[in-house]
C-alpha cells in the first residue's frame, strides 16, 4: 500500500473501529443492565403509585419526604417518577402541605424520623405512604 492510500484509508479504519467500539460498549453495558434487577423498577413504581393517585384530588399540591440516607441519584429519580406518575397533582419537597407523600427507596430505613410529627393516613406498602401534612 503506497503512502497516499495509507493517508486516506488509515484514518477511516481508525474511525470505523472507534465507531464500532463506542457503540458496542453501549450495547454491552445496556445488555448487562437488561439482565440486572433495575429493569422493571420504573414499571413497578408506576403500579405502586396507582392507588395513591386515586386518593388525591387532581388539583392538589402535595408534599414529599424521603429517606435522606438514600443515594442522591435514587432520591432524585424517585421524586421525578412520583411527580411524573401523579400529574396533574403537583409534588413539592417538604411537609407544609395538606397531604404529604412518604416515598422510601430503602424500605428498611429509619424513615419515621422525617414523618414523626405527621399523621399516617395510609401505608400503601413497598415504601409508599400518605400522611396528613402540617398545613390543613
Amino acid at each position: 500500500m503506497n503512502a497516499l492510500k495509507l493517508r486516506v484509508y488509515l484514518p477511516l479504519a481508525i474511525l470505523v473501529l472507534f465507531g464500532l467500539y463506542a457503540n458496542l460498549r453501549i450495547v454491552n453495558k445496556e445488555v448487562d443492565r437488561l439482565h440486572g434487577s433495575g429493569r422493571f423498577e420504573e414499571a413497578v413504581y408506576d403500579a405502586r403509585l396507582a392507588p395513591l393517585k386515586a386518593m388525591l384530588p387532581p388539583d392538589a399540591i402535595v408534599g414529599y419526604v424521603t429517606d435522606e440516607g438514600t443515594d442522591v441519584l435514587h432520591r432524585v429519580k424517585y421524586f421525578y417518577l412520583t411527580q411524573y406518575d401523579l400529574c396533574p397533582v403537583l409534588v413539592v419537597r417538604g411537609k407544609n402541605y395538606p397531604y404529604v407523600i412518604g416515598g422510601y427507596y430503602d424500605i428498611d430505613s429509619p424513615r419515621r424520623t422525617e414523618t414523626a410529627d405527621l399523621v399516617l393516613l395510609k401505608d400503601f406498602g413497598e415504601g409508599i405512604e400518605l400522611y396528613r401534612g402540617r398545613q390543613q
Binding site: 484514518p11 474511525l15 470505523v16 411527580q83 400529574c87
Partner: protein, 472 residues
Amino acid sequence: MILSLLVSIGAPLALGLLLIRMAWQPGLSLRAGLLQLTLACGLGIGISSCTFFLYMAKMGPAGPRLTLVEPVVFLGIIAFFLAFGRTRRSLAAPEGRGRSVSTGFQDSRDSIPKPLLVSFYAVLACAVAGLILVSINKPHGGGDALGIWNMRARFMFRGHELWTRGFSRVIAWSHPDYPLLVPSSIARLWTYVGFDTHRVPQVLSALFTFATVALLASSLAVLRSARHAVEAALFLLATAYFVRLGGNQYADIPMGFFILSTVVLLGLSEAWAAADGAGGLLILAGTMAGFAAWTKNEGMLFVLAVTFSIIAATLIKGGARSMARTLGFFLIGLVPVLLVLLYFKVRYAPPNDLFGSHNMGPFMARLADPHRYALIVRAFGNELLRWGNGLTAVFVIYLVARGVRSGRPHGTFLCAGFITLALMFVGYFFVYVLTPQDLSWQLGTSLERLFLHMWPTFLFLIFMIVKPAEVA
C-alpha cells in the same frame, strides 16, 4: 395504536414534504429525496407542535376533535404558502437552475468504496441496537426527559382543564419556562393514540436521532459527495454520547437537528440559486431556526447568532441589497415561530432560573470574577480534549491526513455557519459566567450537551471543506 401513531406522524410529515417541495424541486435522486424527507420530518413536527399548543391555549384540552381541526389548519398553511408562492415568484429556486447544484459545490468523482459502505452499515446497526437497548432500559427516558420534557407532556395530556399546572412555579425544579416543541409533540401524539404510552417519546427521540444522521449524510451527498456523506455520518454515529442521549429522550437531539437544518437550508439556498439565494429555502431556514428556539431556551442564543451571522456574511460577500433580501426571507420564516414562543413565554412561562432575577449586584459580581473564567476555560478545554471519549484525536488525525480544500466557491453560507457556531460557543461561555447556579455543578451536568447541539453542524461545515479522498 401503531396505525394512529403512523397517521399522527404521517400527516405533519406530508405537510412538511409539501412545503419543502414548494421551495425546492431538485431532480429525482435518492439523496435529494432523503434530504427532503428528513427536513420535512423536522418541519412537520415543528409546525404540528406549534398548532397543538395554540389549539390547547385557545380551545382548551385536546381531545378527539383535534383530528377534525388539525387537517383544516394544515390545509390552511398549505393554501397560505401557495398564495404566497404565487405572489413571490422567487419563493422557489429559480427556473433552470432549480434542478442542479451551482458549480463549485459537488466533487467531480462521487463513489463510495464498498468496504466503507459495509463499515458504515455495521456502525449504524450497532448504534441502532444501542439506542433501542437504552430505550428499553429507560422507558420514560433519562433524568431531564422524565423531569422536564415527558412530564410537561403528561401535564398537557393528563391535566385536562389543569394542563397549565405544568408551568407552575411550585415545580420550578422542573424548569417550567422551557419551550414546548418536544412536550407538545408528545402530547399531540398521545392524543391521537388515546393514552400516554412511553412508546411515543421513545419513537419521537429515535426519529430525531436518526433523522439528524440522515440529514447530515443526505445534505453532504447533495452538496459534496456520497463519500463525504458517509464519512461525516460515521463521525456522528461514533459519538456514543449522541446515541445515548437519543435513547434517553433528551431535547438536545432535536435542538441539534434544527440547528443543522437551518445551516443546511442556508447552504442549499446558496447552492441552488448562486448569489440571489432561493427565497423559499431561506424562509424554511428561518422556520427551522425558530423551531430550535421552540425546542430549548438555548435556541434563542442560536437565533441571535445565526441572524447576526447572516447579516455579517451577506454584507461582506454580497452587499447591503443581498443582505436585506436574504434577511427578509429568513425573518418571514422565523417570526411566526418566535411569536408562538413569545406567546408561551408571556402567557404561561414563569421567569427563567438563570436570568429571572433583576438584582444586578450578584450579576456584575459574577461577570467580574476571574475564578469563574478560569474554571470555565478549563472545563471547555477538557471537554474539547475528551469529546466523544477520544473522538477528538480521531477527528484531528482524519483532518491532518485529508486536509481542507482551497478556494471559496460557496463562501457566504459557510462563513455564516462558522460565525454562528463561534458566537454560540462564546454565548454558552458567558451563560456559564452569569449563571446563579453552582458553577461546577452546572458545567458538569450541561456542558457536554451544549457541545452536542453544535456537533452535527460543525461536522457538516467541516465536511463541506474537507478535500475529496482522491486528491488528498
